[in-house]
């Protein structure tokens, strides 16, 4: 597989096919990143497209000595944060639409487990919406995108200690939000397993 950095070089030479390959390679990841920030399918589509349009315009500014992925991640993350900030100022319609799950082990799961999973998903989505942008970002990058602390620190340009304390604060905030939502419908969580 041709490395991203080479593909970008070919894109800059005006090769449309190279650009198409780059889009195809990253579209799933970027779409999911946008979805993790918006929690809404249609919105995430628009946002993800916006990210690619932005990337296309900024390709000339990419310094080919840096890894492309890190650079692109920062760019995508900035747009997601901007979007989240705007959206929190003008909150969208109440209630998260029920999302269709793709690629989950649905056939092996028992109906009870599926219901449990759906409950968790809806609770999580609503709880995430109550987080501030810094906390949401910490959760998205660490817990949903699966980056490690070093990567996040590089992406955000902050010391690793800062990433850590943001992440811990975000978890506490999220935990409290989930607790509140669950208490509203009074579902206790499982046994304490410390």
């Amino acid at each position: 597989m041709q490395p991203d950095e080479q593909l970008v070089g070919r894109c800059r030479d005006g090769e449309a096919r190279a650009w198409e390959r780059l889009v195809r390679r990253h579209q799933d990841r970027i779409l999911n990143l946008a979805y993790q920030f918006t929690g809404n399918r249609e919105e995430s589509r628009d946002l993800a497209q916006e990210i690619f349009v932005h990337l296309y315009r900024k390709l000339d500014q990419y310094d080919s000595r840096r890894p492309f992925r890190t650079w692109f991640n920062s760019l995508a993350r900035n747009l997601c944060i901007d979007h989240y900030r705007r959206r929190r100022q003008a909150p969208p319609v109440v209630g998260t639409p029920v999302e269709e799950i793709i690629g989950l082990r649905s056939s092996i799961e028992s109906p009870a487990r599926r219901v449990e999973r759906r409950d968790r998903r809806e609770t999580l989505m609503r709880a995430m919406d109550s987080l501030g942008e810094v906390s949401r970002e910490a959760i998205v990058l660490k817990e949903l995108q699966g980056h490690n602390l070093d990567e996040i620190a590089a992406m955000l340009g902050v010391p690793i200690g800062t990433v850590k304390s943001r992440l811990f604060r975000a978890r506490i905030e999220l935990g409290r939000a989930i607790l509140k939502l669950r208490q509203a419908v009074s579902i206790p969580e499982g046994d304490l397993g410390l």
Partner: protein, 318 residues
């Protein structure tokens, strides 16, 4: 934290302006050390023990209310330390002394216990977050917004037709795309490969090619079937959806060491003969500005051997 340090920090501690994690450490020490606890009790500012009876006689009562007061003043801040540790524990168990500290706190504090349960379950919540997959329409929209609208399906084929090197690719794509509509002539064609003994290919190689192609035809059929009938998809979108797959197939099929690759030279000759283009490969017509200029185009009539004749010719943009 030892007793000497406790005494040093005691004024700040009692005034309530000791930052974490010192504050938590003071609380822990005090709950374990009777002497320091006594000391703290004696130095407690008067306003903090407003509900403590002043009578020496009811010392037991005084002591109890003081404990209540201390708890009221400390649990808030101490809970903050514990919460922080609980959040850290999501990544893995805490080291022994810290884990012990947390457990001791949890026994006393239902608020933190609830939070601990929820934080402990967080990974399961994260696992429930749905994953999306970008579809063909998404790709098409991104490309349309960046490199401009994708060339139409027929346009793409025409462009290929104008490039002799890609005629075979175009024909193959055509065959693959029409297969689902026409009921599988390609499948028949691949079946007919079995009779290609005269090509002196080993039997197993022929069989291999045949199964590979048959499988791909089925893939293409199901692929197209999944595309048709869903929302806002044009022919163009269908093309984009199968394009990656088609390209892969063509690449594989046209590899120089493949059966098809070895036939390409032959086919090319046929194609060239068909279009009377034997000799140097033709230039790219649309890339040549002279073609769009009528005057120069007329001039090109004199270099007829460089331009494709017949069908491709009338496809030029006016």
């Amino acid at each position: 934290m030892d007793c000497r340090r406790f005494r040093e920090l005691l004024p700040q501690y009692l005034a309530g302006d000791l930052p974490e994690p010192r504050f938590g450490e003071m609380v822990v020490h005090e709950t374990r050390c009777a002497a320091c606890h006594q000391l703290a009790a004696e130095q407690m500012p008067a306003d903090a023990q407003s509900d403590a009876p002043l009578s020496r006689a009811s010392e037991a009562v005084e002591r109890e209310s003081w404990v209540r007061e201390t708890l009221r003043r400390t649990t808030g801040a101490s809970c903050r330390t514990i919460e922080h540790l609980l959040a850290a524990a999501v990544d893995g168990p805490l080291e022994r002394p810290l884990g012990q500290l947390v457990l001791e706190h949890l026994v006393e504090c239902p608020r933190c216990r609830e939070l601990a349960d929820t934080l402990h379950a967080l990974p399961q919540y994260f696992a429930a977050w749905p994953r999306l997959r970008a579809d063909a329409v998404f790709t098409a929209e991104v490309l349309a917004r960046t490199t401009g609208p994708m060339p139409g399906f027929l346009e793409t084929l025409r462009a290929m037709w104008r490039r002799p090197g890609l005629v075979w690719e175009g024909a193959l794509i055509c065959a693959l795309l029409t297969t689902p509509l026409l009921g599988g002539p390609l499948r028949e064609w691949t079946a007919s490969l079995q009779e290609t003994q005269s090509l002196a290919l080993p039997q197993e190689q022929v069989a291999e090619i045949r199964t590979a192609l048959a499988g791909q035809v089925t893939d293409a059929q199901s692929h197209l079937a999944s595309v048709t009938g869903t929302r806002r998809r044009s022919l163009n979108d269908q093309w984009i959806q199968v394009r990656g797959w088609v390209e892969q197939t063509v690449d594989r099929a046209l590899a120089p060491d493949s059966f098809m690759g070895s036939r390409i030279a032959l086919v090319r000759t046929w194609v060239d003969l068909l279009f009377d283009r034997v000799g140097p490969t033709s230039r790219e017509p649309t890339a040549d500005p002279s073609v769009t200029d009528p005057a120069l185009s007329r001039d090109n009539e004199t270099h007829k051997e460089n331009l494709p004749e017949g069908g491709p010719h009338e496809l030029h943009q006016p």
